[in-house]
Symmetry: D2
Subunit: 337 residues, 4 copies
């Protein structure tokens, strides 16, 4: 951490700052130039609150050199994290394919889609029971009943399931859920992060539409700091000025997060674009970028979808895509091999 | 609502769509041109899910004409909403000044600040007990004890208090709180919105850093749809590419929201900029824009602030500002006549 | 085009509007509902100025149904445009690899890089002679001398060259340049677009950092409206709130623009990220997304680069990447075939 | 400037870097910690290219402490710049009101508007002759004839005029223009900036829709580095995700730029919002924020405006606004006294 002081800092305040920093077990290297004095803080600065230092009258600017996250940081955990889920694993060179409808709508629908996506090669079943919707008048998901149907589909097909937890009160219903999803709108719902951090169950955190990689990793850190290291990251598009697509898929998140963290990285091309016609192309692009997996909306009859319809592909299109993704994944592994 | 069909739509699907729309109690006006057929939906379309229509194969595009919110919509409630809080009111031509520290830190601190801001003319006391922090290693607020101290300061000064509710589990502690604040990161925590919608207490919703006016109003609609009409909106800066300020204060939110809704509008220049030096200028600008009030961070010793220090002004600066804001508010009222 | 009128429009103004629209050779379909009257404009509306209609007192909103571009629109030109450049072609299933240094620095440098990238499989040589730099104190390119050296490298290697034109006054020097590049900062320099539209030479337009697909296509339209149909589009990252990368590569631009237009699409992963370590991964991702080509910065000694150094890869890394891109391109063609 | 080295930097490369820095006349303060070595560069670093240093293999990160602009920097020129234009001045406590139509359309129109805005208190006349339009099919301005009419209106009213220069070739026509406007889309047209920098005439630079304060100041620096110190800055809204307004007016630009630079700051609420109904409120807000002036679109018959109609107010609304702005400006001066 580097602290840049204003010109002619008050000597007492400067001494106070020096003492406070030293009390945190951090060393100080001081450089005095013509116009500025710079303090270089050396040691473990991850728990020093930069805002606190910035607030001082004598300080012009504070810049971090080290990342503010530790558990999620690849520097301290060079090996990729691999997470076992049922008979499958996430990370470690495998290609996870999470597929299913945006919302669970009926027993018939979820069972049919689950069987179809399993036959096509999906490794996990996704489906929403509790749905965050912008409007209070939109369909909010089947709730507890939706979860029951999703778990029925798990039983029928053997596919592990991933579904969104919107509120701590829903947690008792999640016992047989394999991966808890934290939605983009809850990425900084810190109480919820702490609660899932106290579970012994994988957690997939979706990046907020206006959150940086660092903030996403800090949210992972919230979960990990509670003892739950089974965290999966999911990029699902960020909000920009472009309106043709619902969001802008930030494909650079794959190699960037790969550098910064050891956690697995999933790409959601369905929410990222909001257009079914773009999903397959972006899914292939994500596989080539080295993503650990994809989260893809599949619906047996998109014209009946109760939410997020425009971004769902049909089972036959998914079947083609799944085969192509696997072929590409194999090709990439040979190429990089 | 306008539905633009693709060229040569399948006639059966089109008839199905017509029937479905009519079943919602909405009329259809159809225009057929050379390349496109357009359906004009006339009636109360606020409960029609545009995503559902967009998902149809025969549809190219759906555009809303009416706003998707009703309770918050000025068209249906032309009169400004005025909310009574203690001896003061929010909206209706008065200037609400909410002031206090980012975090409650100690009894001495909060009492001292509360007395100071009251003497300067603040009409409400703000102070954080539960603090949303990006890092799990940063100070998270004093919690229950912080709330106790805040209410002590209310008792000492008579100032009504506003403070953030981060989770439904904290609600029992909020009995004597006057206004519940929903933070920007929880603006789309829909479960929390429903819960505060079921209370008989004013709720101030802060606009999310990447949320539109319409989304903010839909969040207000969540609260109002539960029966709680005492909603206050707060603009606190949006996330843009500019990094000199923490966020970009969207001052056009004042006249824009004024047009769209009857709810009171508060501006938070402290969070919007993250720089104490800019707070006074932006506060004056907000008064001139016709905001119903300001939310201003004031700290008795910014060098000791445990969070968000760089954006707090000191009581003496606040005293000058409060007087100037009141003078300007009076001047503007005379000018507008 | 759809014109939504305000409630109870003035009948004379409405009649005036109807007459004006009809005078443009466009038909009107009118739908009158309870709260709004909607005019559906049918015919060629591409030359109707929506701003002009929006300005009318009786109009609430105007929405386009048709795209405002014609020459660049795939609807009117379903076949992909293929552009011949020297012995190579851009578009039509081939993979164009434009490689070279950000700036031409010396004869030795440009000849060495040109030979290296040709040996690795590049199909075109890129190199900047006139450089747009944010600071007047940064190196601005070798200018005329740089162009001379670039053309020398073309002669030595036979590679066609692409280089940026910043100002019409430089045009006489571009006679032997194969593709004129219009930089992102000049994407809406409409005078420059008209001037290159009057040339008989391919033009590659880079998307501005804050411009939409539609605006990019309107800039292409400026060139094409002058008679020059040889336009190439280049996505080079957009400006967002994320600061880890210099810009955010919008990979969805490939399938989105593919749908909207028949023009070839090039991806520039070097400028998009500003980090050499991310270039290869994103280039592979772009090939999988179906881009017609890549623009890649290659420098023989990045430590000496006079500009944009951090995003250049070295010839040996480019050699590995070029081979992998070709292999992937072939694989994708077989897969899609 | 601070250079953060990677762990275990190559000693030869490090020595090379040290020598290169010293050769620029800059001193080095070196701090070696456990994981990082930090070089503090002390002296005039404004002409050191940070990209060049970032490109080195041994460097992890480079951060500027000093601003990269000098002529525009308040630190080196503490006094506000005041620019004389005709009988009026820009900056120095006066309130400049530039008003007029988006486009000059006819002699009658521009003379009528000019007389009206003068009578209401405008200090300068604005009007576009050369218009940057997104579509090649939209009205592009009357060009040379428009300029002639604008200068006729200047003669009639005595109001100094400000109008946009889109291309160097138009410069000979600008002899009698009082202030040359560089449009937002040309903010980084560096050749054009150099050309106006070589004139002895005030230049108003509009901030690009996606440009930072620093980039705006670097564009001012381009002009000033050529010897022309009469630069005026104009904030006209930035591009964000919000679509209700055309752009988002960044009101914090006023106090922020006031801190960073000594140049006058003008606010353009018309382009910032694209909605006439919001212009007056935002203009008042800008006066309260301390802007040196406003740029306001006024049209005698908005229903006939050939471009940008929705954001123009009529002369009678401008008359009310101008009086209110002056009253507010006087009030603020007394208050700040």
């Amino acid at each position: 951490m580097i602290v840049i002081l204003k010109s002619n800092p008050n000597p007492d305040q400067l001494q106070g700052l020096r003492n406070w920093i030293l009390s945190k077990g951090v060393q100080i290297h001081e450089s005095t130039g013509e116009s500025h004095t710079i303090l270089g803080l050396v040691g473990d600065t991850s728990k020093i609150d930069t805002d606190l230092i910035s607030a001082l009258d004598i300080v012009e600017n504070v810049k971090r050199v080290q990342e503010p996250y530790k558990n999620a940081n690849r520097k301290f955990h060079p090996e990729d994290t691999v997470i076992k889920v049922g008979n499958t694993q996430i990370g470690g060179g495998s290609l996870t394919i999470m597929a299913g409808p945006c919302s669970v709508e009926s027993e018939e629908q979820i069972i049919e889609v689950a069987k179809a996506v399993k036959a096509s090669g999906a490794t996990m079943l996704r489906g929403g029971a509790f749905k965050p919707r912008t409007s209070p008048y939109s369909f909010q998901g089947l709730g507890e009943e939706g979860l029951r149907l999703l778990l029925l589909a798990k039983k029928e097909t053997g596919l592990p399931v991933v579904t969104e937890l919107m509120d701590a009160s829903q947690l008792p219903l999640f016992e047989d859920v394999d991966v808890i999803q934290i939605g983009a709108r809850n990425m900084q719902n810190f109480n919820l992060l702490k609660i899932v951090g106290a579970q012994d169950k994988p957690v997939m955190i979706k990046r907020g539409a206006a959150n940086t990689y660092e903030e996403l990793l800090m949210s992972a850190e919230y979960v990990m700091a509670q003892g739950n290291e089974k965290v999966i990251l999911c990029e699902r598009g960020i909000r920009t000025f472009e309106t043709y697509t619902r969001n802008t898929l930030d494909i650079a998140a794959v190699p960037s997060l790969r550098t910064l963290t050891h956690l697995p990285i999933i790409i959601d091309p369905s929410h990222a674009t909001g257009k079914a016609a773009l999903v397959s192309t972006l899914a292939m692009s994500a596989v080539a970028a080295g993503a650990d997996g994809l989260l893809i909306e599949v619906h047996n009859d998109p014209t009946k979808a109760l939410c997020d319809g425009p971004q769902s592909i049909k089972p036959d299109a998914f079947d083609v895509l799944a085969k192509k993704m696997k072929a590409l994944h194999g090709f990439m592994q040979d190429l990089e091999g």
